[in-house]
């Protein structure tokens, strides 16, 4: 197993079997999609978001946003 990259999903529960994909319907109409996956992220996914020194992490950005709100500063 290779090491996941930034933003990769490391755990997911979204697994559709070929049978599920084959039998998807809107009422009586079968659905045909060109992609093999209907979306990238799903409910229940766990992502890998490591930040290195010098980068602004999501946690820090959320903190900056709330601190700016307290100070009456808006987004850039």
């Amino acid at each position: 197993m290779t090491a996941p990259n930034f933003g990769d999903i490391v755990e997911t529960t979204f697994v559709q079997s070929p049978e599920q994909i084959d039998t998807r319907k809107y009422g009586f109409s079968e659905i045909r999609v060109s992609g093999s996956i209907p979306a990238v992220y799903h409910a229940g996914d766990v992502v890998h978001l490591p930040y290195t020194s010098g980068e602004t992490s999501t946690m820090e950005a959320v903190g900056l946003a709330w601190a700016a709100y307290i100070s009456g500063v808006g987004p850039a």
Binding site: A39, G44, V46, S57, A65
Partner: protein
Amino acid sequence: MSPNGKNNFGTFGQQVDFSPVKFKPIRAEFAKGSTPGSINRVNRESTWARWRRGYELATATSYTNAFDYSFVYTIPVPSGTPAPGGNQPAIPGVFKGFPTNNKEFGMHWAGVRTAGSLRFDNIKDHNGTLASIASVTADDDYYYVQLTGDWSVANPLPPPLYVTIPGSPVGLKAINGEVLEDRVITSGGVPITRDTINPATQRRYGYTQYVLIETYPFTGILKLKKAGSVEATPDRSLITPASIPPNIGRFLITGTRYCCSCQDFNQREYAFMTNLDNKKNEYFPRSNVSSVKPGRFEIMSLKGKVDNNAMTDGTTNRDMQIISPAPQYNLPPTITATSTTVPGTTRDNPGVFRDFGYIYLRSTANPSLQGANAEGMPDYYDYTSSNNQITSISDYWTPLLDEKRYCKHIYAMKFAEGVFPPEPSDIPVEPDSIAEWEQKLVKDLEKQDRDQMYEDMRQSLGYMDVPPYNCQAPMMMPMMQKLFNIPAQFVKMQGFTMYDKNGQAYVPSQGEMPST
């Protein structure tokens, strides 16, 4: 609760059609001491019904249809802050649509922020020490997690755990209410899963999941709630409540965060302003008198003018105004011989707010005694707000165990994840009727999934609003702020990068579209 008898979650009985000539006195009883009142009963029964309906929704064919809009939201930096370099501060997630005929544009949109979005391995004290879990103590109901570092009044926990408010002894604790998981072993490491093996022991690591109830910024302590906790055991099982505290030495991450734009989650009612589908819908919002309570609602505006459009273009950002009861209209906290009430208390916007499925607490047990607390405005355990920002979600989402907050859509997503949220312990108390109700539910939904769903899908696809263009809409903006847990003004259209069905990224603010 619904005037047309649909989506009747709570009473399991036939609804009386609204008619102004049939007004009758309110017959419901309010709670007295330990006796549950009618509102508590409705909340309890509706919780079970939402759990049950969520299962039906998750197992329906329609769930696997692709109403999923994946995104990565880049948080904008405040004005005057240098642009972040390297990897951008990102919130990955997905909008999941649930077709409905109870909404004008045919779709409930649920939002999910993936687990691992916020990580504690970037939090440092003033010496540069990383905030891993140093120790854990406990009482009957809570764990108290001591974070590594030198924390004091002069050096409190950093934002967003604690945001100092100049001139105030109490700061903002924006992260309270988040679900936390001890899934990072080393700083910068990959979050562990249920299957991750500890090479030193050749057993699975396992991890825990708790709700953060309170933050003590000057001592570096996090208060975690035992009730509703989850543990992934070395046997790869999920058990609740967790049998162990968070593991010492690890770093915390946030768990999956859910929000929804449906009536039950938002506690907001809809009105239909058009007859797009030629159905007999309510064209004017109204509330039953018995369900109008003092509450809050939000107004979206663009350049100072009210703007309730369902969607905007990729670059238009609106402002949110929160209307809530003014504090001077609250009853005095303590009754005295000269206590008076203030008439004209700010009321709900009739037809917009309803109290179904939320939690509020009366403030007293003995309102008639001098010196007791007055039975005034309820304390809202929905969210706290200040200056038109939702400053915290204050009803402490318990991820499991008798949750009164999740709507059926969130329950459906949890079922679909395979975590199987436990059945709420309090089911409706009329065994015969609930068995009958459940059988009818399955039968009706089977028919609906077979026949009516086609019509619903067709209608929803024809009229639906589309993420992220609807993220500035009145019913979406409060949800987006709760989902991202950042001030509403930092939820900007320019921050969205979307992914189409083939996984290709497109940026709506730059005019890009999904591939066809």
